[in-house]
C-alpha cells in the first residue's frame, strides 16, 4: 500500500531564516505531487505541483520554491521566511492522470 511522509511535524523558525520541508511517498511510482498551505480555520491553497522529476509548476507567486530531486521526493523551501509563511503545510500525491489526491500528515510551521 502507498504511504506518504512529511517531516518535520512541527517547526518554529525566526523571520528571515531558511526553510526546508520534505515529503516522500512510498509504494507507488511516478506520482503527481502537490504542496498545499492551510491557514488556520481555512481551506487548502495549492502552492506547487509536479508531474515528474525536475518538473515544478507554481500556482501562487510567493517567496517559496519547490523541488523534486527524486521520483518520490518533494521539497518545499524558502531562503528567507516571512511572518505570513506561518501555516499548516500539506503534501499530497495522486497517480499520473488521476484526480484523487491523498494527503500526508502535514507540517505545522510557525514563523516568529
Amino acid at each position: 500500500s502507498q504511504t506518504i511522509h512529511q517531516w518535520p511535524a512541527t517547526l518554529v523558525q525566526p523571520v528571515g531564516s531558511p526553510l526546508s520541508l520534505e515529503c516522500t511517498v512510498e509504494g507507488t511510482s511516478n506520482p503527481n505531487l502537490y504542496w498545499y498551505r492551510q491557514a488556520a480555520g481555512r481551506g487548502l491553497q495549492l502552492l506547487f505541483y509536479s508531474v515528474g522529476i525536475g518538473q515544478i509548476s507554481s500556482e501562487v507567486p510567493q517567496n517559496l520554491s519547490a523541488s523534486r530531486p527524486q521520483d518520490r521526493q518533494f521539497i518545499l523551501s524558502s531562503k528567507k521566511l516571512l511572518l505570513s509563511d506561518s501555516g499548516f503545510y500539506l503534501c499530497a500525491w495522486s497517480v499520473q492522470g488521476g484526480d484523487t489526491q491523498y494527503f500526508g500528515p502535514g507540517t505545522r510551521l510557525t514563523v516568529l
Binding site: V51, L90, R108
Partner: protein, 114 residues
Amino acid sequence: GESVGLHLPTLSVQEGDNSIINCAYSNSASDYFIWYKQESGKGPQFIIDIRSNMDKRQGQRVTVLLNKTVKHLSLQIAATQPGDSAVYFCAGTYLSGGYNKLIFGAGTRLAVHP
C-alpha cells in the same frame, strides 16, 4: 474565479442522528468531487468521491449526492458518532495549465454531542 463553498461553517448534531453537510460549486465543467475529513492537527483523509456522470454514491455510513443542475453536492453521514467530529471539506476539479487540479471549500466543522 473558481470556487467551492460550504453553506455552514459549523454543524452540531446529537450522537446517533444523521448529519448532512452541503457544498456549492461554481465551475460547471468540474467532473469530479471529493469529500475529505480532517481531524485536528492531521492531514485530510479521503472519505468518498463522485464523478459527474453519477448523482449518488454510497460508502460505509456515508452517501454523497450530486445535483449538477444547481451545482450542489452533499455528504450524508448516517448514525453520527463522536469519532465523526472533524472538519469536512469538499473539493472539485478545475482545469488549469493542462491539468486537472482540485479546489477546496473552506470546510464545515462537525461537532457530535453525546
